[in-house]
Every structure is written in C-alpha cells, then in structure tokens.
Symmetry: D2
Subunit: 341 residues, 4 copies
C-alpha cells in the first residue's frame, strides 16, 4: 500500500515532527510505502513527488517549516480541481493520502473524501482556529515566540516610559493574541472576535501610565475597532510608491499616542511567529498526530482527521474540523479581562 | 472575606502566574482580601503570613519558583496536624484557603475539606502525575528544559560516537521522560510504569550505533529494570576504584557501555528541570488556574480543585485528583515504541 | 563622597548589570554613596533623583532595560544645557558622575569633563558604534536576537520558496547586520558603510533561488542604495492618514520581488532587538564596566571612559570614544563577501 | 592545492561554522580542494577521509558538534605518531592541513609544523584556556548555558531556602565558572587558579542565608580546597549508607549543608555545556576563524594559528598558543570578589 503525504497552507513548527512520525510508523508491522507531494496541493496537481524514507526524516525534529514544501494552491478554486487532484493521486500510485494543513487544506481533504478518495487529515495552523481538536500543530510555538516578544518590548517600554503595541497573527481568531497577551501580562488584548472600543483601550493605557508603568497592548492582525472595519481599509502609499495598508497595530499605536501623549510604538511580528525550532509541545503533538494518522490509514478511517482531546489523540470527521472556525469564546476572553488591575 | 493562599511541595515555573491571577481576580467585583502563608503548610502551622497585594505580583509572570516560598512540611504526618492547620487558618482570620500543590499538598487540602475547612485546590507538579486534570502547572516547562538538554547532548554524542543517557525527574510517573524523549528523538525511553529489559535497551543502542548514529536514552529517575530494584542497589566501583552508587541513569549508562563497548555518559538534569522562566504555556495555565480558583472560592465550591479539560478550566473533587497517581497509560507508551526505527 | 549615576539614550540589555556592579563596588573599601538620576540627562536637569542601594539591584542581572529609566534629552542642544546639568549635580550633592550611554550621552559627559565636572563614562549601545572599545553593552544581545530572527524566517522561506528581508537596527553602522547576517547565514548583508547595488542583490537572490534555496537578506536600517538616499526619502501616507516612510527593508523586498518574481517579504525587528534578558556576555561586560567605572571614580580619572580591549577593561579618554563613529571597516565587510557561495 | 581539515578534542558549538567558512572561502579566487579527516587525528592515522564540499556545509551554522567527528586520539603519545600523521597526510594527497582544536590538538599541530608539515591551527575549547587569542570557539556558548543553569536553580533555591552548588567545566582554568558566576550573580565562584577556603565559602553562604536569600555557588570541576586535593579523595557515605565519591561540587555542597544546616544540593552540568545550538557570538567567531585559516593557507603561514585580538583576527605562532595555559589572572578573579555584597 502506498500512502501520499502533503503539507498545505502556511508552514509552521512541528510539521517535520509529523512527517517523521508518519515515515517511522509506516515502516512498522505491515509496512506502508510513503511518498511525499511537494508544496501542498500543487504536488498532486503537477505530479510533483519525492520518496519519503527513514533517511529523509533524520535530524528534522528540531527544524521548523516543512521538508515537503508548502503552498497556498487551492484546487477548490479551480475548475475540476478536486478531480485533477484525484487523478494526480492515481497517477502517483497512491492508495491513500494524508493531508496536513489548516482550514483550506483540510477543506480540500474533506471534498476529496466526499468524492470517495481515501484521505485522512492532520490539523495544523499557528492560529489554532480549527474545530474538533483542542489545539493544532504550530500554535504553541507561535504563542511562545509572541510571548518572548512581549517580554522583550516590556523592558524597553518601562525604561522609556513608552507604550508599545505588539501585533500578532490571527486574522479570524484571537488565540495567539489571547495567550501571548496573558502570558506576557499585557494591559489590553484585542482580538477579532471582540471589536474593540479604542476609547477604552486608550483609557486603560492612561491608567497604567498614571501608575508609573508602561502599557503593553497585544493585538491580533484581524482585530477591528467597533463601528466597522472601514477605518482599517483606507489604502496608503509607502515611500516607494507601493500602495499599502497600515495594519491594526500601527493604527492602535497611533491612537494611543495621540490620545495619551505617551510615545507609542508598534511592533509587527509577522513571519517571526511561524518559523524556527518548534517547542517540545509542538514536537510531541506533531509526532503523535503523525503516528495516529498512520493508524487511521491502516484502519481505513477515510474522511477523518486526528485530533487532541485532553491528552488523548482521537479521530473526528473532517467535516467537524472545517465546518466552522474555532474562535475564542466569550468566557475565555472574559478571563483576560478579569486579570486587569 | 479573607482568603489565604499557599504553595506546597517542590516549586515549579508557573506558580507565580497563579498567585498573580489570584490577587488580580480577588480585587474585582466584591473584592476579597488575600494573604499569603509562607512555605506551604509551615505557614498556617507557624502562623507565618504576609499580605499579598497588587504590588507583590508585579513583574512575576516570567519568574520561576514561588514568591510565597514552599516546603515539604506535611501536617498529615504530624499529630493533630490537620487540626493545627485549621487553627492556624482561624488565627490568621482566613475564611477560606487556596492550596496550590501536588499530590501531598492537595492530599492535605482534601483532608482539610473533609474536616469542614473551606478549601480549594490548584494542581501543580512538574511530574504531571495528578489525576482529574489534563496537565498540571510546571510540567510543560520541565519537558521543555529536558528536551533542550536532549538536543544539546545529541550533538556531542554524534561528534564523539558516544551513547548518552539523560536522567530526568519522575519517581512514579514517566511523563517528563516520555515527552522529552519523543520531542528529542530518543532511541529509548525508560519510565517507572514499564520495567525495562536492559538487554533490549542495549540491543537497541547497538543497532543505532551500527547505523553510524549515536544512541540517546532518556530515563526517568524512577525507572526500574525488570526483576526488581535490587540491581540498582549494588554498590559499584568507579573508574578510579572508588566505591559509589549512582542513580538509574548511571546504571543504564554503565550497562550500555559495558555491553556495547561504546563510550557512554550519563547526564542527570536534577534541579535544572524545575526552575527558571516558565514557558508561555505554563504562564497561561497558571494564570487560568488562579482565576478559576478565585471563582471557586466565590462560589463556595469547597473541596474542589481546578482542572484543565481540553481547553476549558473545570472543577473536580479534590478526592479525584489525589485518589490515585496519573501514570503513563500503556497506549501512550506504545506511541513511543511505534516511533523507533 | 557621593556619586551620581545615569543611563541615557536608547535602553539596552546589560545596563542593570552595570548599575548593580556600581552599587556593589561602591560599598567596598571606603564606601561611596550612590544616587541615581532618573531618565538620563533629564535627571540632573530636573533634579530628579533616587537613592540607589543594595536592595535596588537585587534580581536585576537578568532584566533588560534600565531601572533608572532613560531618555534622549540632550543638554548640548539646550541653552546653557551643560551649565544646568552641572548645577543639577551640585544641587544633588554629587561629587562625581558616572554617565552610561552611547555617542550622545558620552558626548555630553565629554563636554562636562571639559567644563571641569568630575565625570566618568561607560559605553553602551546596541549599535556598537563607539570608538575606543572593542564592544559596547547591549550589542551582543541585539546580535543574538537578530540571529534568532534570521533562523526563524529561514524555515518559512525554505518551505514557501520565498525570499525574506530582515531589517535590523544600525542607522550609521552595520555591526548588527554584519554579525547577525554572518551568524544566520544570510545571502546578502547590506550596511550603511557600503551603499548597495540593488541589481547585484537581486542577482544574488536569483542565483540562490536557482539552486532551489530561499534567499535571506539582512539589511541595516541605515543601508542606502548606490546613487543616493533619495529613493528612501519620499514620504508616504499610511492607511490612517499618517505620513510615514517605508524603511529600506520594505524597499529591498519590493525590488527583489519585482525583479525575481519570487514572493518576498520584509520583517522589521524594531524594538525587539533592544529589550529582554541580556546574554551572559552582556551581563559580564556590563558588570565589569560598572566595577571599573567605580575604580575610575576612586582614582579620579575624570574625563575617561571604561573600555574593553581584548579581555581586559582599560580606560580611554572620552574624547576618543565619541570623536568619531566606529563603523564596519572594509576588511570586515569583505569577510562577509568571502562567505558567499 | 588540496587542504585537509580536522577537528580534534572535545566537540563544541561553533565548529561547524568554522568548517562551513573554510569550505566557502576555499571555493573563491584560486579554488582549493578541501577534504575532511574523520575524528581528529584518527583520520590521518587511519586514512579516514571524506570530501568536504558546498553541499556538506548547508544548514550547519546552527548545529553544535562537528560534522567531521572528533576524538581524543593523540599521536604525540604514540610511537612515531607525528611521522605517521605526516604519512597519512601525504597518502591523502594533502598539501596542507587546517587543525581545529584545543591545547592537545594544536600541540600536535605545532609538532607537525616543527617537523616541516604545512599546518595552520584554529583554536577551540569551551574552557577558553588557550593563550595568544582573546577567546576560543565554544566558550561563549558554554558560558551562556551555564548562566542559564544558574538562573534556573536560583528560583528553586529561593523558593525552598536552599543553597545550590553548580559544578561547571574547567579542569585547569576557571573561565566558565568565573563568567557564568558573574552573569548569574553567584555568591561564591571557585576556580582552579585559586584554592578555596571552605570555611570562607561556608561563612559567605551563611551571611546570604541570614539576609533571607538563597546562596548560589558556582564551582569549576578543577577547583581545589586549600591544603591540597586530599580532602576530595576521602570516600564519603551518602544518606543511604552507600559509600560514594562525588566531584568537587558534591563536596562543597556537603560542606555547606553540614556547616550551615541549610539544605544544599549540587547540580553537575557535564555534557550539557558543550552541545547544542551555538550562540551568535560563536557562529561569528567560528566563521571568521575559518575564513582567516584559509587566508593563512593561501599565504603559506605554516606554524601559525588564527586568533582574536580585540575585534580583529590575527595570526599567532602555534608555539604561543600552546606554550602555556591561559588561566584566570588574579585581577579578573578580584573582580568577582569586588561584586560580593
């Protein structure tokens, strides 16, 4: 039996741990042959494969990214995309596919399963916005990196009596902001799920400043002010004539600075959050997901994805994982508010 | 209402996050007064208290240890210990107590609750061996530190064609060894729950060596060879003719070296595993546990402890938490075996 | 004898180590009284002081920033600024001053010394652009942080076949870019001292891409293209109507993307580079500088600054330190070029 | 022209950076062919070589250890060892050799040079005990790891009112202990160069304890008590009645515990200090040493070694590097004493 594997969407730390576990688990008992598709769905679409054996996954546990490459190629948005992927799998001689990815990638996996393809999913996204699993590969590392950033800017903010706004990833879900904000002791945490009142943010920063401390705000890139997104959608032009859009972090920093008179800076973490050595947590999670994905293949549990529940790995229907985004529930956001002094 | 707080047993990263959250949450709504008992149960026994207010918990999120101090003082092993603790709480004017600790500390909390004291528990232990919660404060940091150690020794082992044995904490439960072993890609993981066959460990190391790689073994301090512990109690003689007795790490290293002829070293992590900056994960967990402990106090949920289930914080009876140790289940140990190549 | 201490200019990791060492060394032999001025030169100008004793410097070794606060207040740009600082020192009862800072702060210290004030300097700046010393406090930590950033973005760049440009600090000197670029294995390093040929940068990135690798470029904020700075000085307007200027990192990324067709992103490290826990190197350097500054005070070595030469701490005239910027010499930049494959 | 390269003695972080730089620099201008000898001097003795090209040194900058392997094989202690190495070099077709190592390895290199072999040296050792260079490859990383260990144990010591002794490497020179002790804020630093008075160490710990703090002692493995080493060779009896002999860390911990009544623990870092990701400092140093070693080969500067002086790389006679150990001078140890409060 030959199993194809691919990683789709944005890369994240922990993917290589999953690939290593898949290769190793496949070699046990009745061995499965594993081949890798390069760059997510581009692989089966273009017939771009590579063998994936024991020697390919040596020394990859502590490596971020994905040795298979990734892309945002999405067959669903193409004519006959799902059919073309199916043909690509057949052409590569695959009896089954393990698709590792986030909402988009697993959405394609779900469509393939609906179309009768033998597919199993593994959930990853630094944003942690997939349903049906407690957490996804890559999220813990992203939170760790963002927390370290908050720690670092704090000492500068205190020394210079400044306010600093840290913009983290999270277009639709505020998990990274929530957790790094709590871990870093932020004075305000702004997430997409809860449109923010800039007056309130400013007032809170002013209170912190009045106590002789330096306010730190963590804001998810997808956070929006109350009253709609339009404030964030005015296009600007940068110094080189390229049209661009300041992010919400810059906006919030500008507003705090204007309203409080305190020198305020924004730091945008961007791609720093998704690369580099995975935390131990993500290595263990990726490894366990990989092992159980192979079990699911052996069991013919097509259309399912592996998921963490408590400290067990279970299976969930792909439909549950991608049906709706897992956003921060109000009661967890309330926890952040309960911490404010 | 006045609430006492104490931290008992071995310290760990994340305790200060819990204390900070307790202080902050207590200041909201109907404010509670919080006082700290010093050094675990020694505090109420000796009437040793300190106020615990907003200024005491500034800048502690990234600090390991516990600002209240800790001890292994255990009232259960004393005559009238439970009564004396109760009297100490009354003398300090406490209407309720939040006890943060592991099996021993929460065991005392449970006994107090049985005796009618208004007590709520918060689970912490780097060993992660408390039932009723997915994980305890401090465990994630300990796994992270142990994993970094495995990463570090690996490069030396490879460069010198050596085997290295890393001994980590875990007297009765192998969680740290299991997870750091998986995250670090160990060739063998030895845990208390599964007496090990030294012949098998040696054979595995020999296979790794035969492939030109350097074997890494992670062993929990409480792991025992098949056939009982007596093998570990024979006094040995070191290279200089001095009689000595090592822990299980030294034992396993000696056996591997003797049987394979490969130069083999043991590294004992010891106290490195429990100190220093907590991971973001432990800061968030400690914070959430602290917040929910205050909720439990407000709700009069005496005799309960806070616990993580999935990504929610719930309450569980203290009896469930301390009734029996949470050890590594065979199916999770089997995951580690499935990874071996 | 009473000694005043201040920290001026941008904060950096290692300042607290210097302050701790000053306090501790001052308490030995014939004890000196130490007082701190808050926020750099604003302290003596405004008469804003605080006592600085043993208890103030506990637990600060691993803290970034400066417990005295800092500012960019510069008396030289004020009418009678130097006289006013001198009066402030007299009013505070100071017999001598230790000024810790970079070019601006030590420039003021030099002017004070010329005016007969008993002053000693300690060199700090993450940019490492002070003459007369091998290195300044804060530089090693900044290089470490920037290197970690390069490591992190590399895995993402490889996984997505992208080019990534990392913009680091260094307005006039490229030390951070040079060293983090070498440590991170960058494919191009652009520094202020060597105007860059964008065609050459693009060509090099294209060669890297042609080998199937992802190009990483490290650029100092002060790097300029050959042909002058004007390309970087066109003002833009951001999404919120604020006038702003895209940095050189954005510019280089846009050019690489345009010319190679490879998706290219810029990451601007900004304030992440100057905060947080200092490296061991910076803690040792700050400590030694602090100790020797107290020696210089005891010896009446006014007008001097402490400096590292090899592994010894020596004294140099302040005039030498601030006379001209220490920029990257051509032969050290040539080292970076010699590494290119 | 064909150049052989080898790494001898204990491995350390930064060696791969040097190898990468050698390979890359050799490919420029008039290209040199580079071959690697495996496992230090064992390589030329056994004729064990491997090609060393561009693809071998990809992705190694952040890897500890040495991709060539190492050993403590020392030809000087063999009959005709130097001649046999010379023959091995000839047999491998090498016109010159770059030997990367510490005192032993460079001692052999010196002997070879004396015997007319075209050899150039590169200094590495975590202990930093080579003369003629400000610092050696690997030292900075070792100090960083030891400092992190001191930071970690401190929080446990404070929480439990314990004393903790950290034993670090340094058999003949105390550089690691000195610098990690200063960086970690140790209360006592014991180094081989200065036999210690255990009474004084105990008294100092007692003073720290009396102030309500937890004493931390950093001790180099080669530190000895005043009065000679015999105190360390008495077999002791541990808490369980087993006869054992510890290192100096255990000895000092036992004495502190006995004399002060404070619970005292020893942590022995051992191999943790020499592995894993190199600091940015060591990556830059290793890289620059590698580049300049190739320059030295091109210049025919046989019998020299590269060395850091200030921020320049210079050449020094191998004889100077290995003539006598670079130990901690009394005035630098005095700095540590001046810090004590």
């Amino acid at each position: 039996m030959r199993v194809g594997v691919l990683t789709g969407g944005g890369d994240c730390p922990g993917l290589n741990a999953a690939l290593r576990a898949i290769v190793r688990a496949a070699a046990h008992a009745e061995p499965l042959e594993v081949i890798g598709f390069r760059d997510g769905w581009r692989g089966p679409l273009d017939g771009d494969t590579r063998p994936l054996g024991a020697s390919d996954v040596l020394d990859v546990l502590d490596r971020g990214g994905t040795l298979l490459g990734s892309s945002r190629t999405n067959p669903i948005s193409m004519d006959d995309g799902i059919d073309r992927v199916r043909s690509g799998l057949v052409a590569a001689g695959c009896d089954a596919l393990i698709a590792i990815g986030g909402e988009d990638t697993l959405g394609v996996a779900h469509a393939l399963a609906e179309a009768g393809v033998a597919v199993v999913g593994v959930p990853k996204t630094i944003d942690n916005d997939l349903s049906a699993t407690d957490v996804t590969i890559g999220h813990d590392t992203a939170v760790a990196i963002a927390t370290e950033a908050v720690d670092r800017v704090r000492t500068t903010a205190e020394s210079h009596h400044r306010a600093i706004v840290v913009e983290v990833m999270g277009r639709h879900a505020g998990w990274i902001a929530l957790r790094s904000g709590i871990a870093g002791g932020a004075d305000a945490i702004l997430i997409p799920e809860q449109p923010f009142d800039i007056e309130e943010v400013v007032a809170r920063c002013a209170r912190v400043t009045a106590r002789g401390r330096a306010p730190i705000v963590v804001v998810a890139e997808g956070a929006v002010p109350q009253g709609g997104e339009e404030v964030l959608t005015r296009a600007g032009t940068d110094a080189f004539g390229h049209v661009q859009l300041g992010g919400v972090g810059d906006h919030v920093a500008a507003e705090i600075g204007r309203a409080t008179g305190v020198s305020t800076r924004a730091v945008v973490l961007g791609h720093l959050q998704r690369g580099g050595t995975p935390t131990a947590y993500d290595r263990v999670l990726g490894t366990r997901f990989g092992l159980h994905a192979v079990d699911a293949v052996r069991d013919g549990a097509w259309g399912s994805m592996v998921a963490l529940r408590g400290d067990e790995i279970v299976r969930a229907p792909l439909a549950d994982g991608v049906g709706k985004l897992k956003t921060v529930p109000p009661e967890q956001y309330a926890e952040a508010l309960a911490l404010l002094d």
